[in-house]
């Protein structure tokens, strides 16, 4: 599904190097977790994959089902099936959540040459998806993420994911700022989307999210590289001992 090879990235306007040769392969239907201390490059990796400006790829590649991702515009990546659930979902005053969702869904469909959803079809679908995530009608009417609580913002991300039905989902610290109940709700939303060949890359600091979203593979990232890869037990090891031992031991 997603193949990242020797990816080197620096900040566009500075000489600061953030990713120093990331190699990662996520197979279809797999759930991979990336853990790592602050500043290790986890969020940068997610932004670079999604196409955010401000970063320069100096070496390496990233492909989504064989298509070179890094040459595409962000919207083309989205249409190709990539979805990034933001750590800090962006507030967009003046744009109704429903309008935003419908525009996004239909823009992707149009880009893929699929028929767009009618207003009625869209409404039916969004209501159904929103209900399972306990997103009420008011949240759908309000401007995108404006005045949403932390939990509401993250649920809104998962709603977008559910509506857009991407093939490769990247969750960037989706557990940050969530209480236990909200995290469960978000995890349930994610788990409902598992299967059907859909892959996930879950970026997190803590093992607790992985109690709810069970990963197949866990990677530890530090200083811009993946330094260790293992099964779910690796997350438990981090939780028990912190990163110090792993960082000291490397691969």
């Amino acid at each position: 599904m997603l193949t990242i090879s020797n990816l080197h990235v620096k900040l566009e306007d500075e000489d600061k190097v953030i990713l120093r040769g990331v190699n990662l392969t996520v197979g279809a239907g797999e759930v991979h977790a990336i853990m790592g201390p602050n500043g290790s490059g986890k969020s940068t990796l997610s932004y670079v994959l999604a196409g955010r400006e401000g970063y320069a790829v100096t070496e390496g590649s990233a492909t989504l089902e064989g298509e070179e991702l890094l040459a595409m515009e962000p919207e083309a990546r989205a249409a190709a099936g990539l979805f990034l659930a933001f750590q800090y979902p962006v507030e967009i005053p003046g744009v109704g959540n429903m309008t935003f969702l419908r525009t996004a869904v239909n823009a992707q469909k149009k880009s893929r040459g699929e028929p767009e959803l009618s207003a009625a079809e869209f409404l039916k679908l969004v209501r159904e998806k929103a209900k399972t995530l306990k997103i009420d009608a008011d949240m759908l009417k309000r401007p995108v993420n404006v005045g949403f609580s932390g939990g509401e913002k993250k649920r809104n991300e998962i709603l977008q994911m559910a509506m857009l039905e991407p093939r490769m989902c990247i969750l960037d610290e989706t557990d940050s700022g969530l209480d236990v109940d909200a995290m469960k709700l978000v995890a349930e939303g994610v788990n409902a989307l598992r299967g059907a060949g859909r892959s996930f890359l879950v970026i997190t600091h803590y093992q607790r999210l992985l109690d709810h979203i069970k990963p197949d593979v866990v990677h530890i990232m530090a200083a811009g590289q993946i330094i260790r890869t293992g099964g779910p037990e690796l997350a438990l090891e981090v939780e028990a001992n912190g990163y110090a031992d792993i960082l000291a031991g490397g691969n």
Binding site: G51, R52, V90, T103, L164
Partner: protein
């Protein structure tokens, strides 16, 4: 102050460019009186305080500068699909053939000239009267011009809740047409009317509408100004709002070389409300000026001014909004906001909010923001599959990212079925529009931040400062 000869000549030339007055009865007297006032006022220049940001030269010129008509293509006409009573004016002259039968329960509609011949007609006490009252302390010479030389207009008296909206449709036919219109609307106590206006009207349109909103009455005004790129317009609404009454007005403007919309509202009765709003989308040779003066004369009144503009390729937006609170107007609730999105470094937004308060128990506020679209918000939209326009927008500065505004037109909670369908779905397609420019009014025109930044809100005396 005595007028200079040049000012007198300008007035004389402007009047000479219009058809001679043809009214009779009280209307002729009212028009003659207005002409005397105009000769004393003179036409404005950029030296006038309220014309500093808008050059009135093309409105003053003896002849209307030519303006070609806009080809609407497959664009849905404004208010299409709304069951309304249509009154059509072609180049400022009423066209009975194209208009509906003006019979509507609870509403009496007459042509201005017909009303003018009837001695003691109700319109006599309003025609030019509200307009004259609304010119203290600021003279509004183009309103006086419209009163003195209105070639046509309607007078509408509403005695109950109108069964359907009345729509005034302004058709532009000749390339150099110079239309002057004056309407009078009177809502009796408890009456209700929705008035729709659409179309450019002429190459140059000078217009006044006087509205008296009686006690507990409600007047809803929704206007979509014409799409002709080179049209010019100076419009004025003068409203006198009685106790517990509501005056609402929303204007949507896309295109137009020069538009000056003035609204002068007197909240004269306790508990009166006035909500004025406007959205303008300008591309290239576009200058749009909203000038609003709301007077709180009575206690417990509420006013709202919400004006938003999206400007690109050198388009200019102006907002001059004033709230005057008189000593008796305790418990006033006044609010105004003007916002603009500048899509490139060539566009300008000039804002001049004014508050003048003589009562001590009031709540008044104003705000103005202007900036570019937040890059983070754009990336968020793109990451969900919403593409950028074909032409890349300029990068925003750090200050620009902190600022921004909200350009979504909102006419208020009561405009649910009066949204001008189709008008914001297409790009303004100005002469400088990039090929393949995407539609406006869709997601991409909405910013991420509302934080006012004083550095970005600088009233400027002229372009390029």
């Amino acid at each position: 102050m005595a007028l200079m000869q040049g000012q007198k000549d300008a007035v004389a030339a402007r009047l000479a460019g219009l058809p001679a007055p043809a009214a009779s009865g009280w209307l002729a007297d009212a028009q003659a009186k207005a002409e005397v006032l105009l000769l004393a006022q003179a036409l404005p220049t950029r030296r006038d305080e309220y014309w500093r940001y808008t050059d009135p030269a093309s409105l003053v010129a003896a002849e209307a500068p030519p303006a070609k008509r806009f080809d609407p293509g497959d664009e849905v006409p404004a208010f299409d699909g709304i069951d309304r009573l249509k009154l059509v004016f072609v180049d400022g002259v009423f066209d009975p053939e194209a208009s509906d039968d003006p019979t509507l329960a609870g509403v009496v509609i007459e042509r201005l000239a017909d009303a003018g011949r009837v001695a003691g007609h109700w319109a006599q006490s309003l025609y030019g009267v509200l307009a004259a009252r609304g010119q203290t302390p600021v003279a509004r010479p183009f309103a006086t011009l419209a009163t003195s030389r209105a070639r046509d207009g309607v007078v509408i008296r509403v005695t109950a809740k109108a069964a359907r909206p009345v729509a005034l449709v302004y058709v532009h036919a000749a390339d150099t047409s110079d239309a002057v219109l004056h309407h009078v609307v009177k809502l009796e106590a408890g009456a209700e009317l929705t008035l729709l206006e659409s179309g450019p009207g002429a190459a140059r349109l000078t217009k006044v509408m006087e509205v008296e909103v009686g006690e507990g009455a409600a007047f809803h005004h929704i206007r979509v100004q014409g799409r002709d790129h080179d049209r010019r317009a100076a419009t004025h609404v003068f409203a006198h709002v009685g106790a517990g009454a509501l005056f609402k007005s929303f204007t949507l403007t896309a295109n137009g070389r020069l538009t000056r919309n003035e609204a002068v509202v007197d909240l004269a009765g306790a508990g009166a409300r006035a909500h004025l709003a406007g959205a303008a989308v300008g591309d290239g040779a576009f200058h749009h000026d909203d000038t609003v003066f709301i007077t709180h004369s009575a206690p417990g009144c509420e006013s709202r001014q919400v004006f938003k503009k999206v400007l690109m390729n050198g388009a200019v937006g102006v907002f001059q909004g004033k709230i005057l609170v008189k000593p008796a107007a305790q418990k006033t609730d006044g609010y105004q906001i003007s916002q603009s999105l500048l899509l490139d470094g060539d566009s300008q937004f000039l804002a001049k909010p004014e508050l003048e308060i003589y009562a001590d128990d009031v709540k008044c506020s104003h705000g103005s923001t202007s900036g570019a679209i937040d890059e983070t918000a754009l990336f968020y939209l793109q990451s969900r599959g919403v593409p950028r326009p074909t032409k890349p927008w300029p990068k925003t500065s750090a200050a620009g990212r902190r600022a921004g505004c909200n350009a979504m037109p909102r006419g208020g909670e009561d405009d649910r079925h009066h949204r001008p369908s189709g008008q914001l779905e297409k790009p303004p397609a100005g002469p400088a529009s990039p090929p393949g420019a995407r539609g406006l009014g869709t997601l991409c025109l909405h910013p991420a931040s509302r934080v006012p930044d004083p550095d970005l809100h600088r009233p400027m005396a002229g372009r390029g400062t």
